[in-house]
Subunit: 622 residues, 2 copies
């Protein structure tokens, strides 16, 4: 009994913390969970307290998505980064006086005092036991639900007109732009491009300008002879547990030159080819009508010009598509930039990433192109091989970014905190970005602790398998997880051992995504391939796959209007009230089951807290 | 040692028997195996002794595939069925005198005396052990081959211009015409048809003629509201080990009327809709360019008119496609026809199936349409639920087909023998058909014994898993096996337990096929989906998948010219000589490995026989 009370207490504390951090970053927090937290505190949950979804409407049909009209006036705030966090000042003098504009800035101390202390580093056995038992219960309960209600769910779905798995909206919630085409597509693109552009100068290498023909000559090959075999961009047995080999697959024919020419936005031809191929991929999505994707474009942080260049690429080549929402991925490459002397310390990298962003949002008239591009960017991702070990243990005694001058890369959680930090304050009328890092693909499970606080949602989450406490917390707060079992199968975990089905059954908010169709998939419809394989291997029901698709829309950076259109007008409500079966093809029985089950789990925790009395809760808010 | 000799002897005997039966049916027999058999007998293997492949050229571009010109003259032979076997007579008097034309007719006694006696019913333990050990050896050897040569194979493939997995020819070697479209395709087809044809009379039921609209009204539904959920043709968890439920899925919306209207060749609208949808599927294959299919059309044997009707359907609706080779499937439904009094005995069913066929080939001028249709038919299939048990044990004491008058269905092997029997003699200048039954999907392993003698190649073969002796024999004779792991996964065996990869590694001649895309697949490219899932889950290399594709062409009913074009001019040769890597993208190292390994296994057996001396072999030829 004492165990149970202690477990409930610490879970409660963790939930409050995620709520607090979500609010700071303008991330949405699960409404049901929030309501239970309020009820434990004997206070009223109010809809107004919720973080509003992104209300920015997408361009209507016929409207010019690149229009420079209606760009707001400059706000003329001043910016300064301190300890890796961007502070906003009303004017120059305020900087000198150290009086930043009153905004909820992230706070390193809170982050460290509360969280890892209570939840991760010192997880006591009893709490593990409690969460483990609850998770097992959730599995068994779903099994029963399936046995009892499978037919009733199917009957509901059959009675819905016009809507089935093929025409519910699905978002590919995790896909890298540079690998979003299939290997066959890239091959054909290279060949047709060569046919028309052989004599065009496409590369400058060591001061020498080279035509496409010269590039291929220097590689000793004729593009007409190329095949997917010689292109060699597909992952296979050799990439398993070899992220280095996998990364090398981004180079067609093993040649960095071809990556530079065809898969980069900032090259001699200003990323023209890459833009063309992206538009072809977008065209296929638009044709399919019900499929969307959230491709990641890179900002490295090695120079402050990257943003302007990326925005120019986007606008000049007219890359906008209604079926794509863009994300910015930041590879964790400080050590490389430092060794090349591109940055003197970690703070500079952060400045390169976040200053131009703040600048463009605060003074849009000075950065029109970037301002427009940012309208179509919904969030940030942090990417790289998580299995790389770091010797440094992030704590509040760690060097501040300005002091991080060693050649070593900071650890994962250090990156996560400083990537989370500079999310933009909505109070200033700025658009906000979701933080959606890769997390739990490999490496230490503490990554998942960091993301539990800092992330709106995550990609992968495989390692939740190893930690019942974290898995249960991700369940209780319904943190969306974009999983990519086919990617995992080639890199970190065999398909049959993937926890996807298990997570889905328990009720975690999981979606399916492709990660890198170029490396992993075979067919012309990679997202459908991902769904098909999961459905076949795990014998998922129609209701299951439609629930996954619904999760993918919820998790995505699509705007409020689109989500209303795709999920139903009440989609912000939890449970069956929030579900329009005519849009989602998810049975109301299923929705009710999920909601009841979550309420049931939350009520255990809340009941304990209530029985302790309100007074004892105060400490959690300190 | 004694064990080894005895094992080798009985395997040798089995090989000779398959060779003999293959010859009778004009099935091809593995050349290497044949060469070793001759060498054991100290005789010369001669290419002339081989069964020639089908030399009938397919229509050239622009040529009318339905042209009635050049149909040969009637041969005016007479036919009579005796004991279920069709005998050919030179004239009427010969029938009276019981003097059939001198042809190699199948012979029930040989079939029974030799085979089950020696190979299956009384398989001694030592032979099991021997085969089991050889098979394990083959697995381990391949594993070593892979470790040592994987990179060398890949290097070979990379050096081949223009050819990769996407543009090697793949044949869907096992697919049922009535389920060859995807569920989404069928749905769209029904809806668009309704849009233009609602008032057309499409069905006659109980004497009442009904329009499409009336049909849907009688089913209480509006086709506009239909979804893949309400269409309900997809297999799922509920069909596992329930062939009855699976069969019911052939009825869209559970309504036999819709199956009748949309998926039958012989209905009120003369199969017009079914022809249209088949042509759409064929069109997709032609677009894909490298994919072929061998759809099965049904001849039931309940009436002698079925053939004419089917041929008319084919020609009137112009269903020919260069990317399709047709097969005839005969469901094992005697018991149903008997109970409906459509046939008095089993012989009548056989007559209905085979008489019109012989008639049309012998007297083409009288049956022009059927003659033309048969040009595009490459073989027969025997289909139904193999897991149904029969009380009758087929032996040479079993009732002859004329005497089979009970209401019970004959057992599997009875069907197989009489389906095998009437293959047409090439000596008369008739086109021959391959016999390619479903076999070893479920039920008794004796099915695989029957097919080892009677079949050119088989579909499924799952149960070879359970019998090392048969598995080894299928290996030694390289009997092609069209496997459908996704179909099995929904019906009989979970994907992870499927022996496909194991068979492939050992060197059995396996191909991948879809069986029923309507019931099993999700994407627009079912064959690619089948390959993709196998490649992903089993981590197949490019060389592996290209080997599978090559096997599929070998196994298929495509003509000699096409095979030369798709595999290389020397494709009839075994080993690397027979492989043109520029066509097949299969590494020569792999081909050499397969050939050496097979030779090695055969030489063990042949060496034993040689050491016993030639004299002792005589008995096997009796």
């Amino acid at each position: 009994m004492e165990d149970y009370v202690q477990s409930a207490e610490s879970l409660f504390k963790a939930l409050l913390l995620r709520e607090k951090y979500s609010k700071l970053a303008y991330h949405r927090f699960c409404r049901t969970t929030s309501q239970f937290l309020r009820s434990a505190e004997n206070s009223m949950w109010k809809e107004e307290d919720e973080v509003l979804p992104d209300m920015c409407p997408c361009p209507a049909d016929g409207e010019d998505p690149y229009s420079m009209e209606g760009i707001p006036e400059n706000l003329n705030y001043e910016l300064k980064m301190k300890d890796g966090i961007v502070y906003v000042y009303d004017h120059k003098e305020a900087i000198e006086k150290n009086q930043p504009h009153d905004l909820p800035y992230p706070d390193l101390e809170t982050y460290f005092y509360h969280f890892p202390l209570h939840v991760a580093s010192t997880i006591p056995y009893f709490r593990k036991t409690y969460c483990h038992r609850r998770l097992n219960f959730l599995s068994s309960k779903f099994y029963l639900h399936e046995m009892l209600n499978e037919m009733a769910e199917l009957k509901e779905l059959k009675s819905v007109s016009h809507r089935d798995f093929y025409n519910v909206r699905k978002v590919d919630t995790h896909i890298h732009a540079a690998a979003c085409m299939s290997q066959k597509h890239l091959l054909t693109f290279i060949q047709t491009t060569y046919k028309k552009d052989a004599d065009r100068i496409v590369l400058e290498k060591g001061g020498r300008k080279m035509t496409l023909q010269q590039v291929f000559q220097s590689l000793n090959m004729n593009p007409y002879d190329l095949t997917v075999d010689s292109l060699d961009v597909h992952a296979g047995r050799h990439t398993f547990h070899r992220f280095d080999k996998f990364n090398a697959k981004y180079n067609p024919v093993g040649a960095n030159e071809l990556r530079e020419i065809f898969l980069k936005t900032d090259n001699y031809i200003n990323g023209e080819y890459f833009a063309q191929i992206m538009k072809e991929v977008a065209h296929d999505l638009e044709e399919s009508k019900y499929q969307y994707a959230e491709p990641r474009l890179s900002i490295y942080g090695s120079s402050p010009d990257e943003w302007e260049s990326l925005a120019k690429w986007f606008i000049n080549h007219k890359v906008y598509s209604p079926n794509m929402k863009w994300m910015i991925q930041v590879p964790r490459l400080y050590d490389i930039f430092k060794s090349k002397k591109l940055v003197p310390n970690f703070a500079r990298m952060l400045e390169n990433i976040f200053f131009p962003l703040f600048e463009a949002t605060l003074n849009p008239q000075k950065h029109k192109e970037l301002h427009i591009f940012l309208k179509y960017v919904s969030g940030f991702d942090s990417v790289d091989d998580e299995s790389k070990h770091s010797d440094h243990m992030f704590s509040f005694r760690s060097p501040k970014p300005e002091q991080w001058t060693t050649d070593d890369n900071p650890p994962y959680s250090y990156y996560i905190f400083y990537m989370y930090g500079p999310q933009q304050p909505q109070e200033l009328g700025l658009s906000t970005f979701q933080f959606r890092p890769h997390c739990g693909e490999a490496g230490s499970i503490t990554h998942l602790v960091s993301a539990f606080l800092a992330a709106d949602n995550i990609s992968h989450g495989l390692n939740l398998k190893k930690s019942p406490v974290l898995q249960y917390l991700y369940y209780l707060t319904q943190v969306p997880i974009a999983m990519s079992p086919l990617s995992n199968n080639s890199l970190f975990l065999e398909y049959s051992k993937n926890p996807f089905r298990d997570f889905l059954h328990k009720g975690l908010c999981v979606s399916l995504s492709t990660d890198d169709p170029m490396q992993f998939h075979y067919t012309k419809e990679p997202l459908m391939e991902e769904y098909a394989i999961a459905a076949q291997l795990w014998k998922l029901s129609t209701c299951d796959v439609c629930e996954i698709a619904r999760n993918s829309v919820l998790q995505s950076g699509l705007g409020h209007q689109e989500k209303k259109h795709f999920l139903g007008v009440n989609y912000l409500k939890d449970g069956h009230e929030g579900n329009d079966i005519r849009c989602t093809n998810v049975a109301q029985i299923r929705m009710a089951y999920r909601h009841e089950t979550l309420c049931n789990e939350l009520s255990f925790i809340v009941d304990v807290m209530k029985s302790k009395g309100i007074g004892s809760l105060q400490e959690y808010h300190d």
